[in-house]
Amino acid sequence: MERLTFSGRRKVFGIWGHLAFLVWAVVLAILAPGARVFVVLGLVVAFSVLFCKGGLRPLRRWGFWFLVASALALSPFFIGDKDVSLFGLGLSYQGFWVGLWMALRGVSIMLAMNAFSSAVSIAEVARLFEWAGLKGLGFAIGVAFNMLPTIRETIDTLYQAIKLRGGFRRKRLTTLRTLAIAVVVNSLRHGDEVVSAAQARAFDPKRHGAELPPPTWADLALGIALLSGVWILTS
């Protein structure tokens, strides 16, 4: 059965392929000398466009461009000897190029990380952590996600109840302490009900955790291509 994304496009790589590409992109962005980081950036953009829906979303954030622009704009002033004069300002030719490589490296790493997070679901990430030894994390995330609305409602209800009784007019720290204790106590009592329900069903997170799928043929082919890329770009 083909794996489909929400857009209807076929999902080519599994979690192992996407993880391999992320590690490759980050390592190469750091190691690739000088202008070769252009190649890394080009490959990251191409991969994001072809295989990761929403992979180029960081390009729309102003914070992302602020970081890049600051590296590019400030480096000629502070790195290397000032050998160029522009509008009366002493700038460094070496600093400009170092700033450019820094900016391209930052863009490559940011886009690679975003491509990974947009292609891989939270459930798969939880399964990855469980595979790494954190058994029960998927179960804990599921319980936390389901309890989040209840906890928010508990905080809101208790806050309103204390406020209506004049709780925050004087001795605010004491009132805050009372609120915190009440929230934790209520949440833990609710949690005990969840524990009872799980134990009544003989639930065991060690046995019930979903397995991580093995690497697909596409993942293996990508891995081989990426290893070749490491050798080509760093030689």
Partner: protein
């Protein structure tokens, strides 16, 4: 790390409480105090302090090695599911802070007020280094030359010795150590109070 069903549910609860604080109070504070406006002590420091209180209270109820890391992981993943979407920097910060808190608890061996204070201090110290760590990973070591250049230029513009800049940095680190220690202390007291209430 072996956790029972009860341990995992409690981890989930404390992760959900921290996550609820991050997604509500954290988002509200970020709107009022954007990160660019408060680069030295900002919303991240406050939210980490609150998060450490929650996570360390959780440690009292799941007194096993790795429970604080698990609480941090649950929080980080819940944060990814929030309205802001997947933002790797704060997620990574939460995980690293949890790891440092766990390290502090490992050093102190037995659960104690001072162990919690050490854990809180280590976690809050990271809020200072996180931006520099992120800059190094994304931009490389060249960015440190830029930072030093900015520091020198700023000192020259203000007419003060560069040593004062390092003194300011030392003060910022001290503030974080004290705030983290207080967070750990509060967590110990709060956790004990909750245990007394539940025992009734």
């Amino acid at each position: 790390m072996r956790f029972t069903v009860r341990d995992l549910v409690y981890i989930a609860i404390f992760g959900a409480i921290w996550g609820a604080l991050e997604t509500t109070l954290g988002s509200y504070l970020h709107l009022i105090f954007p990160p660019v406006v408060t680069p030295l002590i900002g919303v991240g420091t406050i939210m980490t302090g609150l998060g450490m209180v929650v996570a360390l209270v959780g440690r009292l109820f799941v007194p096993k090695r790795g429970s604080v890391v698990m609480i941090g992981l649950v929080t980080a993943i819940l944060k990814a599911l929030s309205i802001g979407g997947v933002r790797l920097s704060p997620m990574l910060a939460i995980i690293i802070e949890s790891l440092l808190a766990e390290l502090g608890l490992l050093v102190s061996r037995e659960p104690s007020r001072w162990g919690f204070a050490l854990a809180g201090s280590l976690a809050l110290l990271w809020t200072f280094f996180h931006k520099f760590f992120g800059s190094y990973v994304f931009l490389g070591k060249g960015i440190y030359e830029v930072y030093l250049g900015l520091l020198n230029a700023g000192a020259r513009a203000l007419g003060i010795e560069i040593g004062y800049a390092f003194a300011i940095i030392a003060v910022l680190l001290l503030v974080r150590i004290v705030a983290g220690g207080m967070a750990g202390w509060v967590a110990w007291e709060l956790g004990r109070a909750v245990q007394v209430r539940l025992a009734r």
